[in-house]
Symmetry: C2
Subunit: 691 residues, 2 copies
């Protein structure tokens, strides 16, 4: 009921937005109700009557412009539709227009190098007799094909696409995902799966963080010691980088490389110590944090080096932007170096911020020479910079808005840090251009969009999928869909569907948990442990950092690494409890589900303890197994009071709140996902007055 209601609301909202919407969007009694399975939501959707059956007689093809990129995108979509529906769809478009067909009508290829202004819009019209996808560019068509795939549904007899009319264009032009491939190296095949996932939710920028104190991750032929001595052997060859760029372009995704300068550059100096402001010996940093290592901005040789290096990278990365980082330079080595201090005095640079601005100005000239626009983190923003520079804000909307008022375009990342391990809801509520903003239209246009950020202090190749997905899909919707698409319940309903689609693309965000639990337990049958795991999630980034002090060599094989942040239990249990508490006396279905859950928690205890017994790593969560049973008992008691309407004894609530508070404490790097709703349940219980 709740889901249906929420969904109806969404449809109404979307329909209201749609100028071209059909007046008759309400499902008739004869036809099954339309189920909205799209993520991100399109800007305009109207539901029509009927549905288009997917059968082997269905054919597809183009009737205007086509190129290899469009053909490949159609082929990929048809391959996935084949896997999903067991239906082979021919790309030999049937001439007979009476046969069901998908016709893709594209006006032209779009930009030779995809730009931030690329026309990404498309329209999709599905009737019971066929479908037509229209777009100005191949990128628009790529997005439309993903929408078509997301629309596919089934009943027991057949697969079909509901008849709809969609007009869609993104709210923001820059919808990115940054991956830090420096603190932990992420292999090419993992990145390719990630790009598939990005395309599925219409993200269009892969921001590739390639250098850090902890590693320099791309081959330079001009300066072979960068990766040669600065990567521990983990780096991308230039061929691999080109492969990623091509793979991304085929999916409508730009690749913006980041070379963080002048700080975060320790790994450069292992091979090229003359670039550094401080003294050697230099080493690859295996700890995490902000370090003093920084480039020497006073030597001409630094700029000669960077000129050659940027030229080399510009040939690999065709995107118009190059990200220079610019963050977290603490200036310590600049202050400690008499020669640099002398230079600052000579050039009238009063502080290290001024020196960094000097460096940025020089860097800007080099970028312009090689045809690149500059983007960097908040810190690069100084009044001396020209307006063409783009600011990526990790500090918040405030600094983004301040930049916009001063004429700078910006991209929001504050609030989108995946590594913090917040819920999808938290990210979903962050808007790069909130309704409360006082920016005028011109200033608003400078807010290009946002980027989810996946920093990898606490994630590696095996765990990164579950740190990125499915939460990034919620951010992608925030960046693509109209601002008023904001129902958290409906977002979670569609996120669950999208999560399965992402898994079918080869992402391991779901399967990793089970595989990791099997490895930890050393047996294949882990039922009780899965029950416990289903209501646990890793602690926040800060809690893990302070409790574990991880470094680059820390094994990512604890219980906390097995678990995804914000697992389905988080929202589902909260929604279930909320529904139950609306009227405990009559909500029998919700009551039954809660009772079943609580019993499962209690029953899982002994089995979990048995599975834990053989593993030093699992033994750390022994306390959690006991707590789960306690929480189950507490839940049953609360339900009993609430459904009967009888009050609890005088000290019952205080005792239960104590149990909940104890369970709430982070322990062994994991936390329960069900704390708030359990507290709500106990709170709702009436208590007999104490005597």
């Amino acid at each position: 009921m709740i889901r249906g209601l929420t969904f109806a609301t969404i449809i109404a909202t979307l329909t209201a937005l749609s100028a071209a919407s059909s007046p008759a969007t309400a499902p008739t009694s004869a036809a099954p109700a339309f189920v909205n399975t799209l993520m991100p939501q399109p800007s305009q959707l109207s539901v029509q009557e009927g549905r288009l059956a997917i059968t082997p007689s269905f054919t597809t093809g183009t009737d205007q412009f086509r190129d290899a990129r469009l053909d490949d995108a159609i082929r990929r979509s048809l391959d996935r539709i084949k896997t999903q529906t067991a239906t082979l769809i021919s790309t030999a478009l049937a001439a007979d227009k009476a046969t069901a067909r998908l016709v893709v009508s594209v006006e032209g290829p779009g930009d030779a190098v995809q730009t931030v202004d690329e026309d990404e819009s498309y329209s999709l019209d599905v009737t019971p007799f066929g479908a037509r996808l229209r777009a100005a560019t191949v990128v628009g068509a790529i997005h439309g094909l993903e929408t078509l795939e997301q629309l596919i549904q089934s009943d027991m007899n057949s697969y079909f696409v509901p008849a709809v009319s969609i007009r869609d264009t993104p709210r923001f032009r820059w919808r990115g995902l940054m991956i830090d491939c420096a603190r932990h190296f992420i292999p090419v095949d993992v990145l390719k799966h990630t790009l598939d996932g990005m395309a599925a939710v219409k993200l269009n920028v892969f921001h590739w963080h390639l250098s850090e104190d902890q590693g320099f991750r791309i081959e330079s032929k001009a300066f072979p010691k960068l990766a040669g001595l600065g990567s521990d052997g983990f780096f991308y060859t230039q061929d691999q980088a080109r492969e990623i760029v091509a793979y991304a372009r085929d999916r409508g995704i730009r690749v913006v490389p980041e070379f963080d300068m002048p700080g975060h550059t320790g790994a450069w100096f292992v091979g090229y110590p003359d670039l550094a402001s401080g003294h050697g010996p230099f080493h690859i940093e295996h700890e995490f944090g902000v370090f003093n290592r920084v480039m020497d901005p006073t030597r001409e040789s630094t700029y000669e080096f960077l000129d050659t290096f940027i030229g080399e990278m510009a040939a690999i990365f065709p995107d118009h932007f190059l990200h220079i980082g610019g963050d977290e330079n603490n200036g310590i080595e600049w202050k400690a170096n008499p020669r640099i201090q002398n230079f600052m005095r000579e050039h009238g640079l009063n502080d290290t911020a001024a020196l960094q601005n000097y460096f940025n100005q020089r860097l800007l000239q080099l970028l312009e020479k090689h045809g690149k626009r500059m983007i960097g983190w908040d810190e690069i923003l100084t009044p001396a910079l020209p307006k063409g520079v783009v600011i990526q804000s990790w500090r918040g909307f405030g600094s983004l808005a301040a930049g916009a008022k001063n004429g700078y375009s910006g991209v929001l990342s504050a609030g989108y840090y995946l590594n913090i391990k917040s819920s999808a809801e938290v990210h979903y509520r962050i808007d790069p251009l909130p309704e409360s903003s006082d920016l005028n239209p011109e200033q608003q246009a400078r807010i290009l969009g946002g980027e989810a950020c996946m920093w990898t202090e606490q994630a590696g190749p095996q765990t990164i999928d579950s740190r990125i997905w499915p939460r990034t899909a919620a951010i992608a919707e925030r960046l693509w869909s109209p601002r008023n698409v904001d129902s958290v319940d409906d977002m979670y309903r569609r996120l669950a569907l999208e999560s399965l689609r992402l898994e079918a693309l080869g992402l391991t965000h779901i399967s990793h948990e089970e595989a990791a639990l099997r490895r930890l337990a050393g047996v294949q049958q882990i039922g009780p442990l899965e029950v416990l795991a289903s209501v646990l999630e890793p602690v926040t980034f800060d809690d893990q950092a302070s409790q574990q002090h991880p470094n680059q060599l820390t094994p990512l094989n604890q219980m906390a690494d097995a678990l995804p942040p914000d697992p389905p239990s988080h929202h589902n249990f909260e929604a279930l409890t909320r529904a139950y508490l609306q009227d405990p006396a009559t909500r029998t279905q919700e009551k039954a589900e809660l009772v079943a859950d609580f019993n499962t928690w209690i029953v899982a205890g002994p089995g979990t303890l048995q599975l834990i017994a053989g593993s030093p790593q699992l033994a750390k969560i022994k306390g959690r197994a006991h707590q789960l049973a306690e929480l189950g008992t507490l839940g049953l008691e609360a339900i009993s009071y609430l459904s009967s309407g009888l009050p609890a004894g005088a000290r019952w609530k205080a005792g239960k709140f104590a149990v909940i508070s104890e369970a709430e404490k982070p322990q062994a790097l994991v936390r329960f996902t069900v704390i708030k709703p359990l507290r709500d349940l106990v709170t709702a219980v009436a208590e007999a007055p104490s005597k």
Copy 2:
């Protein structure tokens, strides 16, 4: 109890084999019993007292020969040990011999190109104070490192290696896995994971089946149209092939490429029609089966082509062997071509077998010119062939023995066809050199070993892991371990452990099932469906071929594709029932487990039907969901009679046998794994005499 008993038997067997065994292998009451976790079993193992703790102070290093391959192997092992045990082990060998250390003592690099006669033996001595691995070659050390990893165990407090003394050498020199990458293309990353799995169980030959009527899968620069027109775009570049060869060599694995000739060559002719005996037009064959397409062995231009081609491939594949296929040429196009018939008459070639022999003789000269030995399937064996040619038998031990008696070396594949979907037990019982063989020692030495074969008519990149693993580990043990290591129960016990280790290497043979079921059901929570799935497996190759008639384009996304052959339920349920039936009146533990299983089957019914309802593909197994509940009910009834000792009514057994027989029939490409033990249960019930 049963497991302990079986295990004790195995240890006794191994100990008896061991000339160097310690007299005291029985665990003392103070120490926990040694648990044998090795697969394949070593040729000699004796258990010592105590255990070596794995702690951060542990270090490892080499004290004799070392090279990059050895260093890499040690680093890989330590990485995996780190992931398993959360313990960082330094490769800076502690000078202090009192500190626990692993010292790897290797005499030399071994063959520059690994040969079939490479010394693969090693010894491993673990005491509470350290471990020493000795080997003549790096390949031997690689095997020893895998053994060390397999020995690692844990209790709640720590990880440790039990003190053992192992002397190990393989029973057979050729222990292979063939993968047909032609009928379905298998990507490089899947192959790399497969090579990791092969190394884990000490297989040493990757037989790479690269060409077929259905596709030509490797780039030729001399003949670019081979892959260019013959692969549908799915082929390995030469760089990728070299990458696989290097990856395999690093793991002690030879790569033997196969270019099947003169039959199975349809895909060659799309680009090079002059090679063919018949007329064009030629196309890539998308159906499966034996086709008439065959090379023209009468033209000199064919040999000129093959001379260049083999020379090119010889430079990519350094192995001393090249596989020429040679199977299933039906001779039809040779008989139909007057020019070829004329050639046969002129050369006194009386039949097509004689013509194929002529072709093989010419091919042999080319292989010798390029430094390669010939290996081919049974059909190439003719008296005219020199003794250096190796025969791979898909027909059976008979043809292998006949070859050995005639002086030919051979490799057994009959009985090891993974695509048939037999149980691990079936493969495990096949011996390349059975005890009953009448070969003399000289002839026995010609039996080089065996090869598991993964033909891919019914498997693709997503499903191949679950078709290869874990069953191939049982075949690997048959090929490595002494003949009398033959307890099926103990094999399955250790196979379950090995299966988890293989998963930790990145193989998806376990996780694929859950992911595929989620995709089919369209929801993340699939509990009831998993219950049904756990007692189902795909039908045999022949049943699937006759029911489905798959071709290369058939989607591999049915329930049958989600399920692994020979899942754990197959052996576990059989063993449980067997134990229970030994004395139904007293076996209360087994009774309780059976009752729990049967109840789970009954309870899963409604939930399964609900999950099935939304999917046309799952709807096909609706009958199976009903049958599962019936089988559960039947099981409970049988247990009730057996435990009470009361007889069933007169027609009870006949009725239940009818239910079982109905459930036994293949349906929707899946079959139950529990048929035989259920029939045993019903058979054991006493029946009241009919009146």
